[in-house]
Symmetry: C2
Subunit: 100 residues, 2 copies
DNA sequence: CATTCATTTAGATAATTAGCTAATTATCTA
DNA sequence: TAGATAATTAGCTAATTATCTAAATGAATG
């Protein structure tokens, strides 16, 4: 859980997660949304992978990142639960486009 | 919101919030729960104040810290909302002892 | 098979952070 | 008013972080 919160402490990384909410995206595609260098973005992706918040899979020349929503949800619920902030899952509709 | 997430990125500070969930506590009382020096704890309190996650009030020689649950809740809901993680407030039962 | 394209690794740097001890400030009490 | 007590500020260090450019890796394609 610590790694998740560390990962969330940077606005660039939070925004990456937000972008991945709609659909999986390649590293380069994600990087286009930010004004920092590719290697810097690559380092941010590594932090997100390390926290298990995203999944990376290679597709040809690209690396596709996917949001692991459940990991985020679990960490947030664990924390809010411990704090006495009873947010609870809302059988949450997922906005992502269907892959099937 | 960035300051809130920065504040939450340290386990000591998350634990402080957790302790304050039960009741307001003085700086010294809080510090007893940790194995770091008082000045270090004081710095952590400053970060939490800066993020508006706690309220500090002087009472004689002591400084009493209180959790500002709503600020935490707002930040978390703003983020989870943006991410498409529809946690929602649960009319949360507050464990804190009544002050009235 | 040499080139191009996508991404990551290496290596450097500046800024931030968490930690410490010592000193200061503010308040209470004998 | 002279301690004693609670907390913060000052000043320091070591570790981590976000950033960069240049180089390396891996995969597709002429």
């Amino acid at each position: 859980m610590n790694k998740v919160f560390k990962a969330l402490s940077d606005p660039t990384r939070r925004r990456v997660l937000q972008l991945l909410r709609d659909r999986p995206m390649s590293a380069g595609e994600l990087a286009e949304h930010f004004s920092v260098s590719k290697p810097t973005m690559s380092a941010h992706f590594a932090v997100l992978r390390e926290a298990d918040l995203v999944d990376a899979s290679k597709n040809g020349k690209s690396v596709i990142y996917r949001l692991k929503l459940s990991v985020l949800e679990d960490a947030l619920l664990a924390f809010t639960g411990a704090i006495g902030l009873e947010l609870k899952p809302d059988a949450a509709p997922n906005t992502e486009k269907e892959t099937s």
